[in-house]
Symmetry: C3
Subunit: 119 residues, 3 copies
């Protein structure tokens, strides 16, 4: 089977689809000097963009793992999440404190998304 | 595509299904003063309940990520897990030490479950 | 539904398949005295073996979570990963710092793999 890939690079793809299920790479913020509010906005913005490139919508996000480098940022992340999330179609979610790849990186999100049509 | 959701709330759903694959929210204990034995029982009890609400059984659990706030609890968690798990149909599993959302929370589990019929 | 399982043991299976999607157990190194280079090779070797036992190939790996006990090993893990990964068919990936199950264990990987034919 040839899997559909979004933005394959030399190390990883931004998303890989098995049938109508897309597994996304960890989405990370660009500005590592920003606070949790801004970093969460950047990560959710990137997630929205990948979802759109997959031809899906926010309501198609099935699950998200949220990794925070410091669980003291839990409420700050949630405040942005709660504004962003679809009230009609919220994903399953789990949040844990995990060391992240670069200094200053405060949040990373890993999502599974449903595609509109199986291919 | 409209995804099936179990117990959607303002922040997340307890489970979201893509076809016959259900992605569950992180299951957490209620009693944060309890030891790892009791907290593991509570988490597995909640997992059993969500699985039942999905119309599935313990043998339909495909994978579980186990997050422990202190890896010193690994053996304590395993003792309860080993009593609970289906010997005929054990899930894939990975266990890691992750900071959890609330003080006193010692264990969280994230599962993927097969549904009886695709819908 | 009866799920296909690879190497079921008393505690977990090495992989559990829902249709044509296989969820793998965390793959860990054997030699806990080895450095990150050798441990990463061992983990990727085990991943290759499970993938082969599933009847799949490296290009069928959809996503990998990489857990490192010390994010200082990020570059060392990446050096081995970059030699290993399929340039034509890279998986989605996320890497985080997570405490691992045994002292000396530096890397664990959790993968989702597409099977050639649904069964």
């Amino acid at each position: 089977m040839s899997l559909k890939r979004l933005t394959p690079g030399p190390r990883m793809s931004q998303a890989v689809c098995i049938g109508n299920v897309a597994f996304l790479a960890g989405q990370v913020p660009d500005d590592l000097a920003a606070d949790i509010t801004e970093q969460t906005r950047q990560v959710l913005g990137k997630l929205d963009k990948v979802v759109e490139e997959l031809g899906a919508t926010k309501a198609d996000i099935a699950s998200v793992q949220v990794w925070l480098s410091d669980m003291a940022d839990f409420q700050g992340m949630n405040a942005v999440w709660d504004e962003w999330v679809s009230r009609d179609a919220p994903p399953a979610r789990a949040t844990g404190g995990v060391a992240l790849a670069r200094p200053g990186m405060r949040v990373e999100m890993i999502a599974v998304v449903a595609l509109p049509d199986e291919s």
